[in-house]
Amino acid sequence: MILEFRGIDHRYRSKESEIHALSGIDLKVSEGEFLCIVGSSGCGKTSLLHMAAGLLQPESGEVLFRGKTITGPGRDRAVVFQESTLMPWLNVEENILLAMDSSQKNDQKEAVANALETVGLRGFDHAMPHELSGGMKQKVSIARSLVMNSPILLMDEPFSSLDEQTRARLNREMITIWEKSQKTVIFITHSIREALTLGSRVVLLSVRPGKVIGDWDLSREKPSVDSIPFNTLAQKIRGSMGLCCPPKEHTT
């Protein structure tokens, strides 16, 4: 067990309203798993990821990393954010070097080259972030998280702002990276298709409050993309989300 959410409950309060974001989340993530958490916007999936990253403390319950309660961010849990978090004033190499700690000093250059190779951006060391496309920026962010050598990768809808083709390509590359690196990945997405393409396990969250309402283990029998079992499962998940048959009062 690498990560465990235990009885997570969380509310966001403002002066006018209170939102019950997450309720009674119990989730265990095994070593080496590619866990996709899928749900509509506002279901609290990003909050859940931020709790694992240590950027957000749950109101009640706790998140454990290898048996220890998470109290803050740490290098053992690399995060790839939804938007680009490359420093615009540093080039690709400097951005990746930023994530390395000083004990890695000897082979830093080599590690950067390897990481860029893995994400298919060899030779882009000296490019500035603004010279890269959105997809390339996210690849650099992934390269940056890889050099941290953390056993787990937390990814918060990293490809959601990209076009469909780029996203499909990055999905394929993500699987390769996962297989090569043997890391545990938690991947947040609102796309069922993306979740089923990537995940060795897919967890479905409901909306307000976010609760686990579905959990599919695909590690033994992974349906290939767009095959009949793939589409059947996607349909089933869509059904659980209440997306298959829109409520009649909402028809326009």
């Binding site: 990253a53 240590g54 950027l55 803050g72 961010p73 740490g74 290098r75 849990r77 690399a78 995060v79 954010f81 938007e83 978090t85 420093m87 615009p88 004033w89 540093l90 930023l98 994530a99 700690d101 500035m128 972030p129 603004h130 010279e131 940056r144 941290m148």
Partner: protein, 258 residues
């Protein structure tokens, strides 16, 4: 890259024609005053000649002024940036100093004369104090807001990478706030420069462009006065257009903001 070069080229040409425009207006005005009204309004070249006349000591005046302005500005920048950074990072310090900064910002430079006279009397110290105190407010305000406007997600990324406070400061916070800090320095430098000339007129002693300008009232040496004015404008233009402008341009170009 090519179109960026062209852009800078165009900008330089534009600036040059702007300077020619100033000269043209000056010449026309001088010609009118002289020919039609018979007043001793100097032409630009006469002013320049007076400027270069060794008996006028104008370069000495200019040197003294620049030294005061430089000292006041450096003092204001170091204090202002440090205070701005602390205010940007700590809400407690911000609340404590905010009213003071607002007050500093509201007081016009020359209103400091009574306080300056009491504390420093006449001379260098007085002028430098007035420059510092008028230059510092925009530097503090811009530095603070530059730091507060750094995207939260970049700071979160720094946290997840567990960057040391030192690295977070020098690689994330400071570069993130840099454009704003530079714009504060620009305003501060201009404020300081304006008050420098006026301060020298009032609390200056024996040397300085403002002092020379003021003296020409009594000596009726208009050419020297215009020479001093020209030099003031040239120095101001160089500092603003050459130093700050290119620094700002460099930072923005690197980030793809141009």
């Amino acid at each position: 890259m090519n179109h960026i070069k062209n852009k800078t080229q165009n900008k330089k040409e534009g600036q040059l024609s702007g300077i020619l425009m100033i000269l043209l207006i000056w010449i026309l005005l001088a010609a009118y005053q002289r020919i039609a009204l018979d007043k001793p309004f100097p032409y630009p070249w006469e002013a320049i000649l007076a400027l270069l006349d060794p008996s006028q000591n104008m370069l000495l005046h200019a040197g003294a002024s620049l030294l005061r302005w430089g000292s006041g500005f450096i003092l204001a920048s170091s204090l202002g940036i440090v205070l701005g950074i602390i205010m940007g990072l700590s809400p407690v310090v911000e609340r404590l100093f905010s009213p003071l900064v607002t007050v500093l910002q509201l007081i016009p430079g020359l209103a400091w004369i009574p306080i300056t006279m009491i504390v420093f009397g006449l001379g260098n110290g007085a002028t430098i104090f007035m420059i510092t105190v008028t230059a510092i407010a925009p530097i503090i305000i811009n530095t603070r807001s530059g730091i507060q406007q750094i995207e939260t997600v970049l700071l979160q990324a720094a946290q997840t990478m567990e960057l040391s406070p030192r690295r977070t400061f020098f690689r994330v916070i400071l570069p993130g706030a840099a454009p704003s800090i530079i714009s504060g320095l620009r305003t501060g430098a201009a404020n300081g420069f304006r008050v420098l000339i006026s301060a020298e007129m009032v609390v200056g002693s024996s040397l300085g462009l403002g002092y020379a300008l003021y003296q020409s009232r009594w000596t009726l040496d208009y050419q020297a006065a215009f020479g001093a004015l020209t030099l003031i404008i040239i120095i101001g233009l160089i500092v603003e257009r050459v130093i700050f402008s290119s620094l700002d341009c460099h930072i923005r170009q690197k980030r793809g903001l141009l």
